[in-house]
Amino acid sequence: MLDQPPGALVATATNRTNPERSFGEEVRSLRLGDGDIFRGEGILAVTKALLQSGVAYVGGYQGAPVSHLVDVLVESQDLLDELGVHLETCTNEASAAAMLGASINYPIRGCVTWKSIVGTNVAADGLSNLASPGVIGGALIVVGEDYGEGASIIQERAHAYAMKSSIWLMDPRPNLPTMVRCVEQAFELSEASNTPVMMELRIRACHVTGEFPAKDNVAPAISRNHRLAEPAAHNYDRISHPPSTYVHEKLKVDVRQPAAQRFIVERGLNELLPGEREDLGIIVQGGIANVLLRGLSRLGLGDQLGGVSVPTLVLNVTYPLVPEQIADFCKGKRAVLVVEEGGPDYIEQAIHALLRKKDVDTRIHGKDVLQMAGEYTAEVVTEGLLKFFAQTANDIDLSRPRQALDAVRVGRLEAQKLLGGPLPLRPPGFCVGCPERPVFSAIKLLERDVGKVHISSDIGCHSFATLAPFHLGNSILGFGMSLASAAAVAPVMQKRTISVMGDGGFWHNGLLSGVASSMFNRGDRVLVIMKNGYTSATGAQFIPNTAGNRRDGETTSDIASTLSAMGVTWLRTIRTYNVGTMLQTLRDAMSSAHKGLKVIVADGECQLARQRRIRPEIAAQLKRGERVVRTRYGVDDEVCTGDHSCIRLSGCPSLVVKPSPDPLRMDPVASVNNGCVGCGLCGEVADAAVLCPSFYRAEIVQNPTWWDRLVWRVRERVIGLFQPRVAEPT
């Protein structure tokens, strides 16, 4: 069994930054200057662009697809120190948004980042209060628009936030030179219009590779290295408090928006691609321009270099629109297609309204030929273009592309028929040896005793428990919200509810929204906190209870003492791998006479982070010839009867099935593959659930001492004497 005494987790800060991915190469690229070529991923290009723009501070909260922005800066502390850039790894998006407050009073540039829509929701209060007084230093918010295939959150658009708070929204074409240029222009736009700017980057754009000519980094004039002697003079106009807020609202529409629109036109932020079909036009969000351009070339209306036959307006700024620009583009055209991903169709509606006001009678198509919901994939856009041209330009012969599209669709149906129905899904799940899995095994076993229990789930790796094989969880209401979301369920249930929360969620929101509120209202609930030491689902970033802060190697805050300080009295900390103890503790929590909040801290370091940490250590030990015991588990295939109960209670990826070696049994048997890290859960589950005696634990003594070898030989010799001979007939 994996026993990790807390002491063993503490390591120095230097060797423990960002456990999941190391950015050695990328850190070097951030130092490139004039004349160099930067090569790499989109989100890292954006990071480099920040340094080229002279930011004084950067902050953010991790989440795909923008985690790398902060992660790579965490590893670039030397460079940040040289330039005087302050980096804050915020504990949630609200804290990141509030950080931009520095640019309200001081002419310093800053950028914060998070995953949207969820992060923007959390940041909303700060954003409103930032956008109202406006900024004098450029303020940029890079949001990872987690939308479409591969997205892990609710599907909504950040666009609505930009509109309601009067924050400008950029949606650059997904190639590195444009993204970098847009970052630089975003700061200028922000300063020219005293308004924060949001830049949305979709998943694929964040991870797209490419290159751009680098520039020297710019050290900010006012910074950590060049401090101000005095704070800004008191100016009530800069405070979002009445009556200033009434003035701010007017400034937004009378001054800031016109300034922004002027800047957008003068600096050519949106791109007009000319084409000979002047009677038609297309308006597209920059972020999906490549899908559109490829679609046009598929139809024979464009080439591989981005040339088009139909004039196309690419909106690298999607809010605000510039009415004159749109109207000028549409004037004289019979029909214009708006290619806008996701719903509601804010841009299309705005274009309809502005053309009407300007009395331009061009027909606008959009969501009538393109789907309202879902990602604009190549197929969706091609279909939309075919419909648009069929309705508006019957002089263009599209029979070949139409037939081609229909043919591949027929082919796909044939393929699906050949495969005979849907393929088994492969949802994400807990990693090999994950410390969270045993908790859900224990909850499964608890349900055998007490019946089904209402489980409020949360965001984080533990949300995988809602999938196979556990199928545990009734709702997810947001990050750190599981305890709060049980507030009105618990009073109507005969059995207590269980809320599951990660330590990431605990510090993000759960401590106040959940624990404080539950304590305050004397909620009779059970809370399980997964203390694995990182926000593991986003790449194992550090959090306040991580053993060793990134700055000084000291752990910042402890969950148990925080809870005690808040008055939680029923509090147990349990090693997660100990399924029996976990089960008993859960039973106690469900049946205890204590009426208040009952918290179980399930303690076990993220296995992915742990393996990354200990593998090099073990390799070094082996190389030095030191004795190392490797533990792993196995299944006696002769004893296994192939009912797979163990897999249903664990789901460990290294617990697999293989054909039965028994010629008389047809069902495949369980087997442990070589991915096993020896966490011991399968043995624990077999034990706690009284499954079967097939599991064994094997300890392999590497670099054995002479004593190990002697004991081993003696044992083998003696055992050999008693070994049963092959069964003889009687």
């Binding site: 591969g150 030179p177 043995g683 064994y696």
Partner: protein, 512 residues
């Protein structure tokens, strides 16, 4: 569209942890070194945690110099019907790309590993839940233009490398990219991690793709039971049973001799003889005898602590474990067993009178299913081994044990039902025989399986044998009930199926 500029499109289907990201980096690096514009994108997200994910690459087959400074526009999404090369690290993921329409017979070269990593849905099934590999391979053949298929998992093991390096080698070997091998090798070198093993894997994959290397087929060996001194019983099998049933019956004889003794194996053949006679009378060709032979041998060698101990002290076990866990010959290995016998397991090996009293006490005091005796036995130590050896040596006592006597009674009832059904309908008899699959496992699992078996017996088999239900209808009912019993561990599907069956079968019961 100018064809010279048309990018070569590559779609990669992989599982989180397969190294798809590294594979993309290698390909992009190699393209860059060849001065070809290339773009990679991916949607990793939480799919990194064991889920399925895809990567997409475009490479313009024209050197940058020839573009005179113009930048090609590259797509971030694959398009159906427009994928030149599809790479899959696993066969089901190849199937997924085919299912989604990305692999097309006019264009796509499919390079995939043929090994399967079963998805969680396939693994949790109570019996065999694996997706039909034949269907996957058939679709692969029908839907791709060219294909390079081999077990890259095994290749990685053979070459001491990792799967993504093999896949990169296979891509290079396919000749589908205008990128020389040296550029791929340089990509591996410049990445700087595990360079030698990755280069070895690359060379292996490339040689395989070019047909320069044949891979040994990894075979699955069934282990035969070790009973000896039963030549005369084997002769009896050959003389009395139909050829289709002989291999299985022979295995049954050996297994039961090892499990108990010659006499027990003889009983097996006697029992089988009665089924053979019933089948012959009904005009069957031997398949009922074969399937009964299979299940009867398994049922007669039921898992009690003696059998578990026998398996744990078997002479070849340690060698098997050492191979499985990859222990070097010089490394001592300690083996620790996880046992947790409860009241029922202990009662199983007691004499019936004592066992019943113990079980009644357990029921009365609520200790059955609650009281267990967890033990960790170190089989690799002398004392641990001797304890298990002692248990295994209790074989002589087994026929007097409570569980043995109970099992024999149940086996007889089951056999009687098969014989009786054979006279009505061979299909029904076969279905009843097959129901033995339900009774397996230990503890709760075994109890649940036995209950399900009893339920099907009570609700379908018994009425059919009593003539209250048409045998054909009953055969269908038993078949669907058995599938339902294996569908979920809670018995919900079985309950639904049986309720459904009652509704459908009612009018037939009334008919004469």
């Amino acid at each position: 569209m100018s064809d010279a500029l048309r990018p070569i499109t590559i779609l990669i289907g992989a599982l989180g942890g397969d190294g798809g990201g590294v594979l993309c980096d290698w390909i992009a690096h190699a393209a860059h070194e060849t001065r070809l514009p290339a773009q990679v994108t991916q949607i990793p997200g939480v799919a990194q945690r064991t889920g399925a994910t895809t990567y997409y690459i475009e490479i313009v087959p024209l050197r940058r110099a020839a573009l005179s400074g113009r930048e090609p526009v590259m797509a971030l999404n694959p398009a159906i019907g427009e994928v030149d090369v599809a790479l899959a690290t696993e066969l089901l993921e190849a199937g997924r790309m085919i299912f989604n329409g990305f692999v097309t017979p006019d264009r796509t070269t499919l390079i995939a590993s043929t090994h399967r990593v079963l998805s969680i849905g396939e693994r949790v099934a109570m019996a065999d839940g694996k997706f039909d590999t034949g269907r996957l391979l058939h679709a692969v053949r029908e839907r791709s233009r060219e294909r390079i298929l081999f077990d890259m998992d095994q290749a990685a093991e053979e070459s001491g490398s990792v799967l993504n390096a093999i896949l990169l080698g296979a891509l290079a070997g396919s000749g589908k990219l205008p990128v020389p091998d040296s550029a791929f090798e340089s990509a591996i070198r410049s990445a700087g991690k595990s360079v030698e093993p990755n280069l070895a894997g690359f060379a292996f994959g490339r040689a395989h793709a070019r047909g320069e290397l044949e891979q040994a087929v990894r075979s699955h060996h069934a282990r035969r039971a070790a009973g000896r001194g039963v030549e005369d019983l084997i002769l009896r099998v050959q003389a009395s049973l139909p050829p289709v049933a002989q291999p299985i019956a022979e295995e049954g004889v050996r297994r039961l001799t090892a499990y108990q003794d010659r006499a027990y194996a003889t009983l097996y053949l006697d029992r089988l003889g009665s089924i053979r006679a019933a089948e012959q009378a009904a005009g069957g060709a031997g398949s009922l005898t074969r399937e009964t032979a299979r299940h009867l041998a398994v049922r007669m060698s039921f898992e009690d602590v003696i059998r578990v101990a026998q398996a744990k002290v078997a002479p070849d076990r340690m060698a098997r474990i050492r191979a499985e866990i990859r222990a070097k010959p010089t490394e001592p290995v300690l083996v620790i067993e996880h046992f947790k016998p409860g009241i029922e397991e202990i009662a199983a090996i007691l004499p019936p009178g004592l066992a019943r009293r113990l079980l009644r006490w357990g029921e009365r005091t609520g200790r059955t299913g609650k009281l267990y005796f967890p033990m960790r036995i170190k089989t690799s130590s002398v004392s641990g081994f001797l304890r298990l050896r002692f248990l295994a040596g209790l074989r002589w006592w087994r026929p007097r044990s409570f569980r043995f006597i109970e099992e024999q009674a149940q086996i007889e009832r089951w056999l009687a039902a098969i014989r009786h059904a054979a006279a009505l309908d061979l299909g029904l008899a076969a279905e009843i025989a097959e129901c033995a699959r339900l009774v397996k496992g230990y503890g709760d699992t075994h109890r649940r399986g036995s209950d399900n078996f009893a339920r099907i017996d009570r609700e379908i088999v018994a009425p059919a044998l009593a003539g209250a239900l048409a045998a054909r209808v009953a055969a269908d009912g038993v078949a669907s009930a058995r599938v339902a019993a294996l569908a979920d561990p809670d018995g919900d599907a079985l309950a639904r199926t049986l309720a459904d069956f009652r509704v459908r079968a009612t009018p037939l019961v009334a008919s004469p």
